[in-house]
């Protein structure tokens, strides 16, 4: 074999290979082409193997030419392969623009307060607390008297409570917009014997000068458990579980002494929010007078109660800067939750 013969066969292989390559428009034929020309037993490889039979001078020239061809064919192969892939993916005749937006549906959502209330109720429901709900207009008897809030307590003032009729009528007292959902405590206990485990969500109302952190209408989720043998330790266990559910297991929680007329001892549960303690829940052991008021024997039964504001928790969680957004019904706010 001479070098010119080798070069002839190189150029004929090149012509044939390139022609055949352009016809290899699918992956199968492309692979067959690769095996025939570039494979271990392929035609180009055959030429390279035979270089050893040439004279050294010729061997160099023919070798260079063969290697050049090898490079060209490899590049051509890659180009054809990419072309095939593009062609395969664009199924040209019935192609659509997959980047156009999908068909619109109206995005409905629950109000963020409802979402937060449901999350809280779910946590307590699973611990055996049943949801009870009451009216937004209440008797003074249930909102204050039965809850051991003294007759002269400032909370009953016109500056704090929205009244429908301040005039006391018999044991029911006046009529007011409930300031808390706690009236469901005595209302429930009057109707049943222990054990009691309830959680009561709903709207509450207080006289407030409205600003970014104060609203005269807000929601509360309030709970009560009464039975023989319920203790402060159970209160802590319940509220730790609640905090874990709402804020995650890593959140630091602290319990400190606080005062509310319807509990004794009283508790404020705060959580660590970016290095700052934020009070999120008031609680305590049910005051013995509250139990006596509904005919429970405080020497036999103990219990605990707690109350939490869903708007406040939502504000903390989402960084909502103004509580007035909640009842302003602006879709630019509501649609985000």
């Amino acid at each position: 074999m001479t070098s010119s013969a080798t070069e002839d066969s190189i150029s004929s292989i090149k012509a044939e290979a390139l022609e055949r390559l352009s016809a290899a428009t699918d992956q199968d034929s492309l692979e067959r082409w690769r095996v025939e020309f570039m494979g271990r037993k392929g035609r180009l490889t055959g030429i390279l193997r035979n270089l050893g039979s040439l004279a050294p001078e010729e061997r160099r020239e023919a070798g260079a030419a063969a290697n050049r061809l090898k490079g060209e064919l490899e590049a051509a192969f890659e180009a054809q392969s990419a072309l095939n892939k593009r062609a395969a993916s664009s199924a040209p005749t019935d192609a659509i623009d997959v980047t156009l937006p999908g068909r619109k549906t109206r995005p409905g959502r629950l109000h963020p307060s409802t979402q937060m209330i449901r999350e809280m109720l779910a946590a307590f429901n699973e611990m055996g607390f049943q949801t009870v709900e009451g009216n937004e207009v209440e008797l003074e008897r249930y909102n204050f008297d039965m809850l051991n809030i003294p007759a002269d307590h400032p909370a009953r003032d016109m500056q704090d409570t929205i009244w429908i009729n301040r005039e006391r009528v018999g044991a029911d007292g006046g009529i007011l917009m409930r300031t808390q959902t706690s009236p469901m405590q005595p209302r429930t206990m009057e109707q049943q014997d222990p054990p009691v485990r309830i959680v009561s969500p709903g709207k509450c109302f207080r006289i407030e000068a409205t600003d970014a952190t104060h609203e005269w209408q807000f929601h509360q989720v309030e709970g009560l458990a009464v039975d023989e043998g319920l203790s402060f330790a159970d209160l802590k266990g319940t509220l730790y579980e609640f905090a874990r559910r709402i804020f995650g297991a890593d959140r630091k929680v602290r319990f400190r002494c606080d005062f509310f007329p319807f509990v004794e001892p009283g508790v404020d549960m705060s959580i660590d929010w970016n290095g700052r303690w934020v009070e999120i829940l008031g609680a305590g052991m049910v005051h013995p007078q509250v139990l006596r008021n509904v005919g429970y024997d405080p020497e036999k039964y103990t219990g605990f109660a707690f109350g939490v504001g869903p708007e406040r928790v939502a504000m903390l969680k989402y960084g909502i800067e103004d509580i007035r957004h909640f009842f302003n019904n602006d879709l630019r706010f509501l649609s985000q939750f």
């Binding site: 937006p101 068909r103 619109k104 549906t105 109206r106 995005p107 409905g108 959502r109 629950l110 109000h111 409802t114 055996g128 709900e133 937004e136 209440e138 008797l139 007759a151 002269d152 003032d157 016109m158 929205i162 009244w163 429908i164 009528v169 029911d172 009529i175 917009m177 049943q192 054990p195 485990r197 709207k203 407030e208 005269w216 209408q217 039975d227 043998g229 203790s231 402060f232 330790a233 159970d234 802590k236 319940t238 730790y240 319990f255 400190r256 002494c257 606080d258 005062f259 004794e264 001892p265 009283g266 052991m285 103990t302 909640f326 009842f327 019904n329 602006d330 879709l331 630019r332 509501l334």
Partner: protein, 806 residues
């Protein structure tokens, strides 16, 4: 309540950092909101005045040689009171001081090197105003300190003040001693009570003055004494400083002492000019209705018969526990003082102060109901300070009228069993007695626990539970174990209102509606924007609404949702599809108003977001009806919609909804908002709405049985046939469907196309109905289906005049 640590240290050693102290107090119930460092000045030090010489060029200025700790400097000074030998506050060049001549009280200026009338001044001798301590600018501030010259002023005048947020049950902590007692217990230190001893002179007090309590129900104890020959003067510096430190203004030594003791021990006191009390006879009585008194603030107050007055035989001389009378006020001419320290009824005191709009530091304490033991201690403490500071002779003995002595609770017991039952843990005997004794309770062991004497400063402790809290809060709530709630779980009592409401809300959300929540109160103007249905109850009016915008309780949710539409159409380009589930109210005369829950939804604007797939369409009647169908379908029920009239909705585009399954009860209404109602809400585009009553939907849910939800899948093939009918325009589609469904082989029938107009006879419409035939027993033959179809067609023709369209 401001708690300056410099003052607190009089009664207890502070062994922890201010931050740790704040933390421990907070955990135990006295929340420290802020730790404030009162004073911190750069380049202001203690200086000594070594010499004062006249200014060569100005009569009213002087050249003052000040030793600043390292050298003598010369300062030009205009203050008349500067004198050799004084210890003063010296500000060197670069100090930033209040600008005493600026209108703006916050304005500051930086001290620069300057020549005053030709003489260079190397700094300044400061007034209180320049240091930001007060408005005093008549002269320079003279320091009463042993500190050596050069000591930074902040170390002499500066203090750390804890700002404590107190709970209303702890009037003892409205005194620095009360806070000190907490600190002592929480840090294991001794409490040092302020001394109350003083020398007495004859005669006995009873020969100088008398007290008579006419209304012991409002004044369980009244103690008093007389100090003769006092010298009224400004308070000494330390006293004035402390009065200022807690945010009050010094007045004179006697008044400042009564204030000081109030802030020290928590007991308000009052000093009368002894010589202005007629016959030196003090009478504690209810005011006569309409009786008047001019209080210390020069306001004439008209009293009612439930207000307690301190009087002499002629006139009122003070409003008991609220404010003294102007006619017996201590002034510069006073030489003899009658000092009062009494216990007044808390609720009555609060009522008087709120009726008169006259809140004071005294009422803040009295209204919480102080124990009578405190009054005598405070009387003796104030007497001691008066004798020391204002001089004078203290009469022998004290006046002590104590009609309420036997009615006050003296002790409270706690059983071991109760303590561990409530806390859920066993405590050591020493933990219990040690804690209570440290708090000042004297403890005696009983057969089953402990009996304690209630200390005179703790009116809040009356029950065993109160003692439990004392023990728990001092030991620390952290020390109490955490257990999952023990005991029985109550029997589940389902509450259908809650369950049905949540299901409906979820269904409406799935149907693409946004839940909103509005205020429960509105106003008549807004309510009148839409005509209300007849027979609506009167509205419930609030006596003290937060604003005129929220004066009455809403009777429907319509105004709420339409106001939301109005607002959102201005700011929101997408669909406005809103619903609210909320309470509405109606007056029921006496007693609680009627209250029920409505489900009200509204659609306005485009039906969907503008999109390339579907052309924009305005919301219409069928969007609202579709939402109602979603609600009913969620409950596995079907509604009937019949044309109806509603004052707010367009006639002919309004339907009332009944549910045959639930006895045909009317559950609500759906329709298009009338143009006039739209106009009053300033809405241009069509609005459709629905309104459902929750309790009706609860009845629907209750009426749905298992058979209404599930029927077995039929194994035999069904067949679908379409009918194209020509029928009078006025015939409701529902009637056509109802007839088709009566056939026993028909499993469903529904209208899938409606056409009116071109190519049809006048007054007619074309309805396309798809009917599905199926038998539970076999596959139907074409003949059987055709027979059924013919029967349906005959019925349609006979009953509704429908014909098959050619």
């Amino acid at each position: 309540m401001k708690v300056p640590l410099s003052w607190l240290k009089d009664y207890v050693d502070i062994t922890v950092s201010p931050e740790e102290l704040a933390h421990r107090l907070t955990m135990a119930g006295t929340e420290v909101e802020k730790i404030e460092r009162t004073a911190d000045w750069d380049n202001v030090v203690v200086g000594h005045v070594h010499a004062v010489n006249p200014h060569p060029n100005a009569d009213r200025l002087r050249l003052v040689t000040v030793f600043n700790g390292s050298e003598e400097v010369e300062v030009v000074c205009g203050a008349p009171n500067v004198a050799e030998g004084q210890t003063i506050a010296y500000a060197s060049i670069g100090a930033v001081l209040r600008d005493a001549y600026s209108e703006d009280p916050e304005a500051t200026k930086r001290l620069k090197k300057s020549k005053i009338r030709g003489v260079e001044s190397q700094g300044m001798v400061c007034s209180e105003k320049e240091l930001g301590l007060s408005d005093e600018h008549e002269g320079i501030l003279e320091l009463e300190t042993e500190a050596t010259p050069g000591t930074p002023l902040g170390e002499v005048l500066g203090d750390i003040v804890l700002e404590a947020e107190l709970t209303p049950n702890r009037p003892d902590c409205l005194g620095i001693v009360g806070i000190a007692r907490e600190v002592a217990v929480l840090t294991g230190q001794e409490l040092r009570l302020p001394p109350v001893d003083y020398a007495e002179s004859s005669p006995g007090v009873s020969s100088l003055a008398s007290v008579r309590i006419d209304d012991p129900d409002l004044c369980p104890r009244y103690t008093g004494t007389v100090i003769r020959g006092v010298k009224i003067a400004p308070s000494p510096g330390w006293l004035a400083d402390r009065i200022r430190a807690i945010g009050e203004r010094p007045i004179n030594n006697i008044v400042d002492i009564t204030n000081y003791v109030m802030f020290e021990l928590g007991q308000p006191l009052h000093a009368f000019d002894y010589d202005r009390v007629k016959n030196h006879e003090v009478i504690v009585r209810r005011a006569a209705a309409g009786e008047k008194i001019t209080t210390l603030d020069d306001q004439e107050r008209k009293l009612d018969a439930d207000m307690l007055l301190i009087a002499d035989p002629e006139k009122g001389i003070g409003l008991a526990g609220v404010m003294g009378g102007a006619n017996s006020e201590i002034d510069d001419s006073t030489t003899n003082v009658f000092l009062e320290s009494a216990t007044f009824n808390g609720p009555n005191n609060r009522r008087t102060s709120s009726t008169l709009g006259l809140r004071s530091q005294a009422t803040l304490r009295f209204e919480k109901g102080l124990r009578s033991g405190l009054s005598e201690i405070a009387l003796r403490r104030a007497t001691k300070l008066i004798a020391e500071i204002a001089g004078g002779e203290v009469a022998t003995g004290i006046i002590d009228e104590h009609p309420g002595k036997d009615s006050e609770q003296q002790s409270v017991s706690l059983s071991r069993e109760k303590l561990s039952r409530v806390l859920g843990t066993e405590l050591h005997e020493e933990q219990v007695t040690g804690t209570l004794e440290a708090l000042g309770f004297s403890v005696t062991e009983t057969a089953d626990g402990w009996s304690t004497n209630i200390p005179y400063w703790r009116p809040d402790v009356t029950l065993p539970e109160d003692l439990i809290e004392e023990i728990a809060r001092i030991i620390g709530y952290d020390e109490i174990p955490v257990t999952p709630p023990a005991g029985r779980v109550p029997t589940w009592q389902p509450r259908p209102e809650t369950a049905v409401r949540d299901r409906i809300a979820d269904a409406l959300v799935r149907a693409g509606m946004q839940e909103i929540i509005s205020y429960s109160a509105t106003n008549e103007d807004d309510e009148n924007k839409i005509p209300l249905a007849e027979g609506m109850l009167d509205h419930v009016r609030l006596q003290n609404a937060v604003s005129a915008d929220h004066a009455v309780l809403r009777r429907t949710l319509r105004e709420s949702v339409l106001s939301a539409v109005e607002r959102n159409l201005r700011t929101w380009r997408g669909p406005v599809a809103l619903f609210e589930i909320g309470h509405v109210f109606g007056s029921a005369g006496e007693g609680l108003p009627e209250e029920k829950i409505m489900v009200t939804g509204v659609f306005a604007g485009p039906s969907v977001e503008p999109s390339w797939t579907d052309p924009a369409r305005q919301a219409d009647f069928y969007d609202a009806k579709g939402a109602v169908e979603v609600v009913l379908s969620e409950l596995h029920a079907e509604g009937q919609f019949a044309a109806a009239v509603d004052p707010a909705l367009v006639a002919g585009r309004t339907a009332e909804i009944t549910v045959p399954l639930a006895g045909g009860a009317r559950i609500g209404v759906v329709g298009e908002l009338s143009a006039s109602a739209r106009e009053s809400f300033d809405i241009d585009s069509p609005v459709v709405m629905f309104e459902l009553e929750l309790d009706k939907l609860v009845s629907v849910a209750a009426a749905v049985g298992p058979a209404d939800i599930y029927s077995p899948i039929v194994r035999y093939q069904d067949s679908e046939r379409d009918l194209a009918l020509l029928i009078d325009r006025s015939v409701p589609a529902a009637d056509v469907v109802a007839i088709a469904r009566k056939n026993r082989l028909v499993t469903s029938a529904s209208v899938f196309d409606v056409f009116e107009g071109k190519g049809l006879p006048e007054g007619k419409k074309s309805l396309a109905v798809r009917i599905v035939y199926q038998s539970p027993n076999k596959t139907l033959t074409a003949d059987e289906i055709s027979k059924s179809e013919s029967g349906i067609l005959r019925a349609l023709e006979h009953q509704l005049g429908a014909t098959l369209r050619a």
